[in-house]
Subunit: 473 residues, 3 copies
């Protein structure tokens, strides 16, 4: 599926025309400009996607109780470290190296001698862009598992997920694998990134079980997060980052329709907020702010697959549907006692499936898709029933492969080093039990000099002396 | 004022000269590169402006009391949804469609067949950029009205403001309307965006009345916000976003002086911090941190109109003045019992007027302004007295139109569905009374498992059982 | 440096020059495109670096106790104001003006008639980029001095540091000064920016002394910051901003290897997280989240000097080492009773030295460095022992010059207006004692209407009536 670099193409074209001297030099110079411009877009879009980690930090910590807020921070920074190192070591090669229909097998440790993504902005820019995508997929997993998962278990899972599982499905769809060849379309990863992350989250929470206190007397009770402002800051940062996530998936700037993608993405998100607000009113008889924020994210996930293919009105519809179905699914998960603290399953999973299938419903038939790389490159696709069928089995294959593999990994972790902290640790909170210090120390322990007067002490707020001897303050 | 696309121009020029083959192809290729580069700048600048919503979230929630912090979050995400959907449906057409001197009338629902902003980065990029501007103007309104406004009332106002009121003034100035034809200059919207938002905020707070407890025994008392760190994070994000707001208003990159705009914008903001620090020392005998932050914003508003026209030293002066006058205006508003919790009236309103007029004082005469679109395109303007007069009546017209219309809308809302929550709801806080859950639940209610020990309960901190049955935690 | 609009150029060139001129006009047009593209990269990279101020705000406020959190916010916004105004007035001229081997002496107040950085993106873009670098260096200083430094003293230091000290070392390395001529390499400022900031922090804390309560009975005790989520948000924002910091230091886009720089920077940061996690486990027997975050920053500082020169595997090693040595240095500083609340000395100082020296260890010999400006321009350098020696004495010269000068400035401030607040003020916190209001008022005083019920009052949480009469709420 890969094309030679634009530089090569232009150079070849100019030389074939037999125009000497200046014109050729001009062509080469312009090709260099185009290459720089494409690189710039891919790199800056990647920076926006990198910034989404701040969004996940805030969304997840905002929906955690204060005693677990620091642990989320630790996980997110480790998430980034794992994603970059493993995608460099193996993920990029498995996903985007030359190989067969199932996986790639060149380019380990970004060996530039064995792979060439010269199109668009060059291999290094493309690697960066794909690495931050993998980091997003992994970040999705943790939210559903927060408040009760061992730090070490998460590291092991992350290594296997980014290093092996995620890139294989990426290869199928974006690396020239079998789904790409069948015409499966997933422009920026409703399935590749979001559904995979949500599947790992689902199998993870099934193996882990719900948080303590979540289900009491057979009924779900709310365990509200500690900070809606931080949660919503996370939502807006994710929205902003999605401009790079979807827009940058054109993988080049020159001759690409990324402004269309940007318009569709924003209109969908807007539709999602409206949808989730209505859904919240219907299901909960209230304007639940966390549902409204999650509605935006669900819509962004939903439009991710089709943002380059559909018309603006369809983007609004896709986003609206993704938003309005999230609240009922939250209720359903509570009913069947699946504990998903941040709503990753409806927001990244269900909306990911919906968005991938929606291409078959809303994309006009026979439209050229201008992307340098990936399944849709220069493709006239059929739309309608045939396309819907391809979309369906692409989703099904992703669910089967990633669902089974992540389930196996979680079970192996559970049976060996253990996946869940002890009840005592969970009640104490992961901050103090896994990281030796609260994320908000002044809320729980006596911090020297924290209070000008001795009012808090006199009010009996102090639990105990600092339980740690670390000097890393 | 609108030009056909650069692509068309270049292609036409080359073809007219009768240069065949390669040269034309080269010219076409370069035009495509330029188009991509211009689109990239407008889109990325728009992303920075989109990010300003995070700034408003933080600035406004930081200056709210904890019991209202979640409601701010709900309003901001709804703000984005309304802005995109209404600007898509009607705002863009009224503002930038073909029409008469008063309003545009083509391009409803971004109908690309009936309008063409091919210059710069194309119509879709331009739409995105203008839509996020409208979202900024609407976001300004809420800060002044926080802690006491009904969520539903705000939605209705937002629909009318973005859908009808805001774009009409935008058309006058940026869409080729009567003010543009008179030579009125407002490069990035000191008046169009900021003054309009502040006017809606002013009429809103006049109709609403002050927050409970704000004025007691005839004297203003401080109702300090709950988090200066979040407030200041908001200020810095707004400062960062303003790089796109002002810089991107060149509406193209190639041949544009956007680096000058960036330098002026930053120097002005720096001057504003110094001004507000002095103003705070003079008025309050203290280094008030919220005044310092607001001084930066006031200066950014002040330089917005003239950032492409003035010299760096003048930018510093404009920013300094905008900053130093803000604290006295805060005192004045307190004296006349106008309650403006975040200072939007001095920061966006007075500074907006000042910045628009300052062009007449500081812009050198007879300077070419290189912008593709808008009033100043390719214009040699007169500067001095004549320009000052145009600036003056442009501001006056904006005040008259937007002031009257927003006042009418607020009054109609008040007389029908009601604009203000009940006293009981206001005292309880909007989070719990309008959204069913606190933004910081652990500060107010017993969250299951929130505290490792039973210290808080023993200290009598728990108000009551959770007053909501939502399961969306 | 300003060019007329492309429209004018194209029209004029094509119409006036006719066919033979067309090729030349095309070349000119392409040069204009390249100029715009380079400007765009430098400006956007500068915006990312500007955003790093939000990172410093959060990192520093997160590691402060709540009573000092608002003061950090005040310092950061003043930090930006000082940096822009002083770099405009004198810093840019001393650093990058024409002059001698020791300092520059043209371009005061950005006088474009006397200096020309036309390469890359033009003088204005280059000024902006360098000004935000200076702002980063100054921001580093405050973290080590927080909780006890007078606001006024910090302003005076900042003026001298950005206006005089910092730019002189910048001139040596990046302005064509003696270190540049000797072949000293510091691509994006491990020494120029980070080591200088850390030296000022070190001399500052030595003159100030440790925070009250930090060392009791001869032993360091933890004074943990109040919010790990805000701290980690700061870390991620800094990581994101570093994409501009290192990437933008190519100072142009066309023909530059900025994607390589981006890849190296991210891999190093990932290595730093792993290193610091191990270091924390070894030194503290815990997964300290603040160490993990600081490990990322240390690695980013470490790779800053060499990011354009080394291979990806070397970037991982450089980052890993920077990360793993940070925790032992934290312990060492505690042992010798140097109080560094945020760890700027290990993270920006030691890692800055390490990163600068590492070029001599890891950079392949005889590699061309493609940068438009600065020491490495088109340079084939020797690598190995000779390079290591140059790196060594470049670091030594920086330490000697900046260490001595900042020490002198701090001592002069101490002996005149005083550097440290009183013990009473420090115990009360800088928010209330220097700025007249708490950063988190509801945690300390009775804010009118803050609590729906009278629970907090009944719990004895209210210290006193608001101690301020400011009306700036």
């Amino acid at each position: 599926m890969r094309l030679r670099s634009l530089r090569t193409l232009v150079a070849a074209g100019v030389l074939l025309l037999g125009v000497p001297g200046l014109a050729a030099a001009q062509g080469g110079a312009l090709a260099q400009t185009d290459f720089a411009l494409n690189t710039l877009w891919v790199v800056l879009a990647g920076v926006l996607v990198l910034f989404m980690q701040a969004g996940f930090l805030l969304l997840e910590t905002g929906l955690s109780r204060m005693k677990n807020a620091g642990a989320v921070a630790g996980k997110i920074i480790m998430n980034l470290a794992i994603a970059f190192l493993m995608f460099w070591a193996t993920g990029f090669a498995l996903g985007f190296g030359d190989g067969n229909n199932f996986l790639g097998s060149t380019g380990w440790f970004l060996d530039l001698g064995t792979l060439d993504y010269g199109a668009g902005g060059g291999t290094e820019a493309f690697f960066f862009f794909q690495a931050v995508f993998a980091a997003v997929s992994l970040a999705i997993v943790y939210g559903t598992m927060l408040d009760r998962t061992k730090f070490g278990a998460y590291i092991i899972f992350g290594i296997l997920f980014v290093g092996i599982i995620y890139p294989i499905v990426a290869h199928w769809t974006w690396g020239g694998g079998w789904l790409a060849q069948d015409g499966f379309l997933d422009f920026a990863g409703s399935s590749v990134v979001h559904l995979q992350g949500a599947l790992a989250a689902l199998t993870g929470t099934l193996v882990l079980g719900p948080r303590l206190l979540k289900f009491r007397n057979g009924k779900a009770q709310p365990l509200p997060g500690h900070s809606i402002p931080l949660f919503m800051l996370g939502v807006i940062i994710l929205w902003v980052g999605w401009m790079g996530f979807n827009g940058g998936s054109t993988l080049a700037a020159v001759g690409q329709n990324f402004a269309d993608v940007i318009v569709n993405t924003n209109l969908a998100a807007a539709g999602g907020v409206i949808g989730a607000t209505l859904g919240s009113l219907i299901m909960f008889r209230t304007l639940d702010v966390s549902q409204m924020g999650n509605g935006a994210i669900a819509a962004l996930v939903g439009i991710t697959a089709g943002c380059a293919f559909v018309d603006p009105w369809a983007a609004v519809v896709i986003g609206f549907v993704a938003g309005i179905i999230a609240p009922p699914i939250v209720v359903l998960l509570d009913k069947i006692k699946v504990d998903d603290p941040i709503g990753a399953i409806p927001v990244h999973g269900i909306a990911g499936v919906w968005g991938t299938l929606a291409i078959g419903l809303f994309a006009p038939a026979a439209r050229t898709v201008d992307v340098d790389l990936g399944a849709g490159a220069g493709l006239f696709y059929g739309g309608g029933g045939q396309q819907l069928w391809v979309q369906f089995y692409g989703v099904a294959a992703t669910i089967a492969f990633t669902g089974v593999l992540t389930l196996v990994v979680w079970l192996l972790i559970k049976w060996t080093i253990g996946l869940r902290v002890s009840e005592t640790q969970e009640m104490a909170g992961l901050d103090i039990s896994e990281h030796g210090m609260y994320g908000y120390p002044e809320q729980f322990i006596e911090v020297p000099g924290a209070f000008p007067e001795s009012t808090r002490q006199s009010a009996g707020m102090v639990a105990s002396a600092p339980p740690t001897t670390t000097t890393s303050d």
